[in-house]
């Protein structure tokens, strides 16, 4: 084929020549360095760990500064990712540092969904980069790369083994990001317990197939230190935001009644090793790995999902444009189909609801009629009662009048007995008025 012919030609033409004098292309690395320094570097760290385990304190200690941070609450409903970007400068080297915090991780009672926001965030960053790459007019050189370069996973120092949540989360993350497991708050484990704990954790990770970041050992300059560091994983760290006077210097340390834990003392904790590995030696390698391994994997999966392949069924290299067009048409067709379906559903539902409403209306009407009828009946019966009572009242009044006239006649006859009889009569006569009052009330 055409490709391989060219290769053979090229390899035949490759000879190593000796130089007669100093040409000067040995300054190429320097040119590269000065270019990258002027551009500035960017580094993104993701800190995953329970609330209160010491993520913010460790970041402060690592970068020897105080990133502003409020204490997180334990009562979040779910896991939130909070990215914060800072511009740091050291010896004229600019670093754009992004620290992503997982707020609320490990606090919920049901933690089955805890890993999802983290995985989604990482995928989103990859997606953004992919979109930028696929653009027609793209500007990758000044694109702010937000892909996570390293994930520091904070393990609680129980002294027994990993927690179940840790295992599940790390398994989901190991193919998307470089994981460096860290034992947090390591000043609560004694030396012998620490040794056993580290071995247990590593063996659990290995037996469950979790791939953590291995420090590269190909480059002879750093191979030795890297491989010795690999043996110290996971790093047992202690962070501190306070300084204590030890000897005649102020060092970052934690003061206890029984002693002082110095953060930068190698026999107290592995903080110095972590700083070496993370920042001073392997930062660039972490970025490369993210781009070359994790991002490429993501890209491949995503494009395969979309239906792209590198080669045709006929082994002809595929054009991205053509596949893209085909995919687009398919997608639009799907959309239209779905729209139709939804419209149908909507119409059906409207019909059903209308029918229901009509039914309800009829029911209400019936009930109304019934109530009206009962009301009418009651009204009628009440009216009857009223009439009866009125009749009674009338007849009573008549009798009263008759009695009065009789009394009047008797009164004219016997005036002495009138005083006592009057009282009696009054009582007798006030009775009907009382009756009429109550009769009247009943009617209303």
């Amino acid at each position: 084929m055409a490709a391989t012919d060219l290769d053979i030609l090229a390899s035949e033409g490759m000879r190593s020549l000796c130089l007669g004098g100093h040409v000067g292309f040995d300054s190429l690395p320097d040119q590269l360095v000065s270019k990258s320094v002027s551009q500035g570097f960017c580094f993104n760290i993701l800190c995953v760990g329970e609330t209160g385990i010491g993520k913010s304190t460790l970041m402060n200690t690592l970068f020897n500064t105080t990133f502003e941070n409020e204490e997180a609450s334990h009562y979040m409903d779910g896991v939130l990712l909070r990215p914060r970007t800072y511009d740091l400068q050291e010896s004229s080297v600019d670093l754009k540092l992004t620290i992503v915090d997982t707020v609320g991780f490990g606090d919920q009672i049901n933690k089955e969904e805890s890993y999802k926001p983290i995985v989604d965030y990482i995928d989103t960053q990859f997606e953004n980069y992919l979109q930028e790459e696929l653009k027609i007019r793209r500007s990758l050189f000044n694109y702010h790369d937000t892909r996570i370069h390293v994930c520091l996973y904070f393990i609680a120092p129980t002294g027994h083994s990993l927690k179940s949540l840790d295992l599940v989360t790390m398994k989901k993350l190991d193919s998307k990001v470089n994981i460096i497991p860290i034992i947090a708050k390591a000043d609560t484990i004694s030396k012998s317990e620490l040794h056993k704990f580290k071995i247990k954790v590593m063996s659990e990770l290995v037996s469950n197939g979790v791939q953590i970041y291995q420090f590269p050992a190909e480059d002879e300059a750093i191979a030795e230190i890297n491989s010795s560091m690999n043996a110290h994983l996971p790093f047992a760290v202690v962070g501190s935001s306070e300084e204590v006077k030890v000897g005649n210097k102020m060092v970052r340390a934690r003061q206890y009644p029984w002693g002082v834990v110095q953060v930068e003392n190698e026999s107290h904790c592995d903080f110095v090793r972590l700083r070496e590995m993370l920042i001073r030696v392997n930062m660039e390698d972490l970025r490369e790995q993210t781009h070359a391994r994790h991002y490429e994997l993501y890209r491949r999966c995503k494009l395969e999902e979309m239906g792209f392949k590198d080669t045709d069924p006929d082994n002809e290299p595929f054009s991205l444009q053509e596949t893209y067009e085909a995919k687009r048409k398919e997608f639009l067709g799907d959309l239209q189909h779905k729209e139709e379906g939804m419209r149908q559903m909507f119409v059906n539902r409207v019909k059903v609801t209308e029918a229901e409403l009509k039914e309800k209306e009829r029911e209400l009407h019936d009930r109304f009629e019934l109530l009206k009828r009962t009301h009418q009946e009651e009204k009628r019966s009440v009216e009857e009662k009223r009439r009866d009572l009125e009749e009674d009242m009338n007849s009573f009044n008549r009798r009263k009048v008759a009695a009065e006239t009789l009394q009047g006649q008797a009164f004219q006859g016997s005036a002495q007995l009138s005083i006592k009889k009057d009282k009696d009569k009054k009582n007798f006569f006030t009775l009907p008025s009382a009756c009429s009052l109550t009769a009247g009330r009943n009617l209303h």
């Binding site: 179940s164 840790d166 206890y256 029984w258 009301h375």
Partner: protein
């Protein structure tokens, strides 16, 4: 040994018996003491909390024995969907002629799975079971040898790595605070500096109050106790929740052999009051308040359970005469609760009907006008 000193003060002096007006019932405390020594004591302690917080180590440190000799800890993988178990260890220990039958109830698996919904249910079920069994025994015909398996105290371990109580802590304590005496402890306190301990204690106390959790309250001192005791009691109350450290090993520190933990930067002594509150916990739990814990369990938690149980049973009986109760129950003079409820329901229904009628009447009036 403040308890013993207090008690000794009450021993009668022999020369008083010569007094004419002396009756002699001041020897009652002695008699109680003798009988109780003969009978022996029992105590059931429950420890709860996530794994890896030092529960077993603390129990060993408290009772100076090794209760957990060969236990198998699960891997992270096995714990993903672990259920909570209840395990019991019973030991008989003796000190100066006083016998104690100590039962430790452990709850392995609590809070370890990924989904911990209702993971405290096996624990509440266990406590209820013990109450139920005691209830049956107490109501039985032969009550000579009742075994008291009720849980007298629950030590709940709060992890020191966070900023306060977590949702699972709150839910657990709320599910149990009316069934058992809860004493919250801050575990592995050697990871906190004194300032941090104080902050965390204040935080936890506030949150306990905020969520309305009823933890075990130390009883008030009598006014005739001596000053030293009152002072100790006051300190204890201000120190809750207690921050503890446990250790399985004995180390050499300051020329003595003590239980402690060795670090490159110093040695933590478990029994040093300036290092942690272990001594306070031990003296409170064992030396002064053990009996009070038992009393509160019997008088408050058990009685609540019993009252609730009886009410449930009688309401079931009035509803359904076929219920076959295992206990002799007298028909209580308040089944009216049931009829009252029915009456209330009917009243409400009537009111609703009246309102509807009125509304309809109004509508009719409006239409007529």
């Amino acid at each position: 040994m403040s308890t013993n000193i207090r008690f000794k003060n009450r021993f009668i002096k022999p020369e008083d018996s010569e007094d004419r007006q002396y009756v002699g019932f001041a020897t009652l405390p002695n008699q109680v003491h003798r009988k109780s020594v003969k009978k022996g004591f029992d105590f059931t302690l429950m420890v709860a909390g996530e794994s890896g917080l030092g529960k077993s180590t603390l129990v060993n440190s408290l009772f100076l024995t090794d209760l957990y000799k060969d236990r198998k800890l699960l891997n992270a993988e096995e714990r993903i969907s672990q259920t909570v178990e209840i395990t019991k260890h019973t030991v008989d220990i003796e000190e100066k002629g006083v016998k104690l039958k100590l039962t430790i109830v452990d709850t392995p698996g609590f809070g370890d799975a990924v989904n911990n919904n209702e993971c405290w249910k096996p624990i509440t079920d266990y406590i209820d079971q013990q109450f139920e069994q005691y209830f049956r025994d107490e109501s039985g015909l032969n009550r000579k040898n009742i075994l008291d398996n009720r849980v007298h105290c629950c030590l709940y371990f709060i992890p020191p790595f966070g900023h306060g109580l977590r949702p699972i802590d709150v839910e657990f304590m709320k599910a149990l605070h009316e069934k058992v005496n809860i004493i919250p402890l801050i575990a592995k306190a050697d990871c906190l500096t004194p300032n941090e301990i104080k902050k965390l204690k204040d935080r936890v106390r506030d949150e306990i109050e905020k969520f309305g959790i009823k933890v075990y309250q130390f009883p008030e001192c009598d006014s005739d106790e001596d000053e030293e005791f009152k002072q100790l009691d006051k300190e204890l109350k201000e120190c809750t929740p207690l921050a503890v450290i446990g250790s399985n090993t004995v180390v050499e520190a300051r020329g003595q052999r003590v239980r402690g933990r060795v670090y490159p930067w110093g040695i933590v002594e478990v029994e040093n009051q300036s290092h942690c509150d272990f001594v306070k916990l031990r003296s409170m739990l064992i030396r002064s308040h053990m009996h009070d814990l038992k009393d509160v369990t019997c008088d408050v938690h058990y009685e609540n359970y019993r009252a609730q149980c009886i009410q449930d049973m009688t309401s079931k009986l009035t509803q359904d005469n076929r219920v076959d109760s295992p206990l002799p129950i007298l028909p209580l003079p308040t089944p009216d609760a049931e009829t009252e409820r029915l009456i209330k329901m009917k009243d409400e229904e009537l009111k609703r009907m009246q309102e509807m009628l009125e509304k309809m009447q109004q509508q009719i009036h409006e239409k007529e006008q």
